[in-house]
C-alpha cells in the first residue's frame, strides 16, 4: 500500500510540474494551431536560468518569474522568425531550439549539470515546513499549476485572450478587426514558452539541480498529453481545455510510471513515449477529430 501511495504521489507531482508546461503547449498547439518545437530548448532554459538565479542568491519565487520571462523571450524569437521573416512554423521552432542549446550551456557555465543542494527553493521554504511531511512537493506543485491554470483561464476570457483564440482559428477574422494576427502569434508563443520554462524552473528547484539535457522529448510528451486530454475530455461540457490537458498530462505520466513499475527497462523510456504519442494521435483520429482542436 505504501509503495502504491508513494508511486501515486510521484505521478501526481510530476503531472503537476510538467502540467505547467502542458498548459503552455495547449496555448501554442491547440489555441494557436502552432506546433512549436522551441519547447525542447525553452524547458532547460528555464531550468538553467533558475539555477543561475538561485546561485546568485535571488528569492526562489523571483527566480521562477525570471525563468518565465527567459522562456517568453525564446518564444518571441520563434514568433519573430515565423511572423516577420516568414520561416515555416516547424523550422522556426527548430532554429530557436538549436540556438538555445548554446545559450543554455553558457548560462550553465559550460556544464551539463549544475547542482545547488541545500539552497533555498519553493519546496524547502517556510510554506513547505508547514505542510505534512512527504507531501510538500505534491501540494506546492499543485498550488503552482492551479494558479497558472486559473490565470490562463481568466486571460483567455479577456479581449486580448479572445483575439488570441481567434488568431488560431481564423486569422482573417482578426485582420477584419483591424488587428495584426502576427502580433498575437508572437504573444501566444511567448506565453507558451514562458510556461514551459517555468515548468523547467520548478522541476529544477524540486531536484535542486539544473540540467541542459532536461528538455529532450518535451515536445513529444507535451503534445501527447494535450492530444490525449482533449480527445478524452475535449467535448465534455463544462470541462475547460486547460483542465482536460492537465488530466491528459497526469494520465500520460501515469502510464509511463506504470510501465516502469511493470519492469520496462529505462532504456526503452523514449521509445514508449513515442508509442504513447502515436496511440494518443490514433485515439484522437478515431474518436476525437474536433476534440483536439477545441480551443
Amino acid at each position: 500500500m505504501d509503495i502504491f501511495l508513494g508511486l501515486l504521489t510521484n505521478i501526481l507531482e510530476e503531472g503537476f510540474i510538467y502540467g505547467i508546461m502542458i498548459l503552455g503547449i495547449y496555448i501554442t498547439y491547440s489555441v494557436l494551431d502552432f506546433p512549436d518545437l522551441t519547447v525542447d530548448g525553452s524547458f532547460p532554459l528555464g531550468s538553467v536560468t533558475c539555477a543561475a538565479m538561485i546561485l546568485l542568491g535571488v528569492h526562489p519565487l523571483l527566480a521562477l518569474l525570471v525563468s518565465f520571462l527567459a522562456g517568453a523571450a525564446a518564444g518571441v524569437v520563434t514568433g519573430f522568425l515565423h511572423v516577420k521573416l516568414h520561416i515555416s512554423n516547424l523550422l522556426s521552432g527548430i532554429l530557436t531550439m538549436t540556438a538555445l542549446w548554446s545559450v543554455n550551456l553558457v548560462i550553465n557555465s559550460g556544464k551539463a549539470m549544475v547542482p545547488y543542494y541545500d539552497m533555498p527553493t519553493v519546496f524547502n521554504g517556510t510554506l513547505a515546513n508547514l505542510l505534512p511531511k512527504g507531501y510538500g512537493v505534491l501540494i506546492i506543485s499543485f498550488l503552482l499549476v492551479v494558479a497558472v491554470k486559473l490565470l490562463l483561464d481568466a486571460y483567455l476570457k479577456t479581449k486580448s485572450g479572445l483575439c488570441l483564440r481567434a488568431t488560431g482559428a481564423n486569422p482573417q477574422f482578426v485582420i477584419g478587426l483591424g488587428k495584426n494576427p502576427g502580433r498575437f502569434k508572437i504573444l501566444g508563443l511567448a506565453i507558451g514558452n514562458g510556461l514551459t520554462a517555468l515548468a523547467g524552473a520548478v522541476l529544477s528547484q524540486q531536484s535542486e539541480s539544473a540540467s541542459i539535457n532536461s528538455g529532450t522529448g518535451m515536445v513529444v510528451m507535451g503534445l501527447a498529453s494535450v492530444i490525449l486530454g482533449l480527445t478524452l475530455l475535449g467535448r465534455v461540457r463544462f470541462v475547460r481545455g486547460t483542465t482536460a490537458v492537465l488530466v491528459g498530462c497526469v494520465l500520460y505520466r501515469g502510464v509511463l510510471s506504470a510501465a516502469m513499475l511493470a519492469g520496462l527497462p529505462t532504456n526503452y523510456l523514449r521509445l514508449l513515449m513515442v508509442v504513447l504519442f502515436i496511440a494518443a494521435l490514433l485515439l484522437n483520429n478515431t474518436f476525437g477529430k474536433k476534440g483536439a482542436k477545441r480551443a
Partner: protein
C-alpha cells in the same frame, strides 16, 4: 472630396518578368461616392476580385494610388486598412470565428477600433443590445448567444458576419460574392438583410456578385468589368431601367468579340 474610395492610375501586372506575364490593369480608375451602393459584375478574370484585393491590401498595385475617405492607404498593410473597412467573404467560415460563441464573436466585433487588452471581453451590460441586434436577423439566433458559431448553418453564419461588420462604424462595406456559397433561400435572406443594413446605417458599399438579378435589383449603381476595365457604369434612372437580359446581351457581345 465626396469620394469614399478612389483608385487612381492603377497599373497591375501578374507574374511580371515571367513568361506567364498577365497585364490586368492599365491606368485603371475607379471611384465610389459616399453613401453609394455599387454592384460590380463581370466574367471570371475581369478584375472584380482583384479590385477588392487592391482596396483591402492583399495585393499591391505596380503604380497608382488608392484613397479611402480622402487619405492615401496604398502603403498600409491589410489589417490597418480594415480598421475602416468591413468585409464579408464568399466563404461563410471567414467572416466569423467558429470556435467562439455568438456572444464572443459579437463582443470582439463590437470592440473593433478599440484596444484589445486585459479587460473582460464579454460584459453583461451588452446582452440586451446584442439580443435586439440578433432579433433583427429573424433567424432565432438571439436564443443561441452561448452557442459556438461553428454549429450554425452557412446562411446563419453569413448573416451573423454581416451583423458583425456593421456593429462599428466603417467607411466602406465590401461584399465579396457573399451570397455565392449559400443555398437559394439563405442567399435571398442574406441579400435582403444586406440591403436593409446598408440602408439603415447609410453605408457606402461595394458588392461583387455573379448574380445579375441582385446587381439589377439592389444598389444605386452598376459596374460591369471586362479585362481590367469598366465596360458599363450606370446609375440613377439608367440603372433602374436596366434588366438582367440587357446585362446578358452585353456579356454575350463581349464573349463574341473575344472569339468564344
Amino acid at each position: 472630396m465626396s469620394d469614399m474610395i478612389t483608385l487612381d492610375h492603377i497599373d497591375l501586372t501578374f507574374g511580371r518578368g515571367t513568361v506567364n506575364e498577365v497585364p490586368l490593369f492599365r491606368d485603371f480608375h475607379f471611384s465610389l461616392r459616399k453613401g453609394q451602393f455599387v454592384s460590380v459584375v463581370g466574367s471570371n478574370g475581369s478584375g472584380k476580385t482583384t479590385l477588392l484585393n487592391l482596396i483591402c491590401g492583399t495585393l499591391q498595385p505596380d503604380r497608382g494610388e488608392i484613397l479611402l475617405n480622402g487619405s492615401p492607404i496604398t502603403k498600409l498593410p491589410e489589417y490597418e486598412r480594415m480598421k475602416n473597412i468591413g468585409r464579408v467573404f464568399q466563404d461563410p467560415l471567414k467572416g466569423t470565428c467558429g470556435n467562439l460563441t455568438i456572444l464572443e464573436n459579437m463582443s470582439l466585433a463590437d470592440n473593433k477600433g478599440k484596444f484589445f487588452g486585459l479587460s473582460r471581453a464579454v460584459s453583461r451590460g451588452v446582452l440586451d443590445r446584442y439580443r435586439t441586434e440578433l432579433e433583427s436577423l429573424k433567424l432565432g439566433l438571439e436564443d443561441k448567444l452561448n452557442s459556438k458559431v461553428g454549429a450554425l448553418s452557412g446562411g446563419q453564419r453569413q448573416a451573423l458576419a454581416l451583423l458583425l461588420v456593421s456593429m462599428t462604424p466603417v467607411d466602406l462595406l465590401i461584399l465579396d460574392e457573399h451570397t455565392a456559397a449559400l443555398d437559394p433561400n439563405s442567399s435571398e435572406t442574406v441579400m435582403e438583410l444586406t440591403d436593409k443594413i446598408i440602408k439603415e446605417k447609410q453605408l457606402t458599399a461595394l458588392m461583387v456578385t455573379h448574380n445579375l438579378r441582385y446587381a439589377v435589383q439592389y444598389g444605386d449603381r452598376l459596374v460591369m468589368m471586362h479585362e481590367g476595365g469598366t465596360v458599363k457604369d450606370i446609375e440613377g434612372e439608367e440603372k433602374r431601367a436596366t434588366t438582367v437580359d440587357d446585362l446578358l446581351s452585353i456579356f454575350n457581345t463581349i464573349s463574341i468579340e473575344c472569339g468564344n
